[in-house]
Symmetry: C2
Amino acid sequence: MSIPTPTPTTQSKESVTCPMDFILRMLMGPWTTYILYNLRTHGPQRFGELKRRVSGISAKMLTERLRTLEGAALVKRDYEATIPPKVTYSLTKRGGELDEVMDRLAEIAVRWEAEDAAQRAARAAEARAPENLGELRAAE
Amino acid sequence: MSIPTPTPTTQSKESVTCPMDFILRMLMGPWTTYILYNLRTHGPQRFGELKRRVSGISAKMLTERLRTLEGAALVKRDYEATIPPKVTYSLTKRGGELDEVMDRLAEIAVRWEAEDAAQRAARAAEARAPENLGELRAAE
DNA sequence: CCGTATCCCCGGGGATACTG
DNA sequence: CAGTATCCCCGGGGATACGG
């Protein structure tokens, strides 16, 4: 994966190992959030379906990500040996446990965006009429 | 950054844009969690201090990450033009707002780890005395 | 001390072609 | 349909050296 780890050799005894790192490394994987998000909102679905939805992803990448997620027990793979074969992916119970956190994150993201927009608006207004400064700014 | 984005050109109108993506891209950045974690647990600190703590990171990388975090208003940079110069980094209010989510994540991570350990133990026991199966397994 | 500038290298990931 | 196998390329990031 592309996320550098503290080099094992360089790893000092004072090295910081935050527990959530594992999960973040998971979520952090390229495309991962898109995949989870899709499985959440559109429910269990087949490989091709997922690939179509996560637009731009390559088959190689999608496979690799799904395998990793499966390994972490966040995603379940159902293989039906029909012809043509049918493979369905779905969130596991454990995968669902991330919903809450993801919701919180989404919520924060939305709020920040709104705050930023307000800031920009305030700044624009201030540029036109530079009286009463500071009250918005005070929030940092 | 190393996290692939759906190629803009390939981006379809059905493209999935989950709101938290921005934040995750932020947290996701290499080393980022280590940096935030350190700022949280050891408080405001200077560049070199931080670099020493986040063992293995290069100056280039640390600078780039801090700049990005600063740009996202998660981290504050205090420059004191003494000789030698003194630069202190700290979490902003906004940066602190991630604490809750990070705590939740850490909590989940710890629980999963415990569950996995329990599973392994159960499996080992089962290998020795294969009676009463199923109850742990049933949890998926 | 806190960075930028430069070089260079490795491997992650896309494209393509092919199988069960 | 759901992947693997192969090739190839680009840029992310470390190491090093230097500036304010």
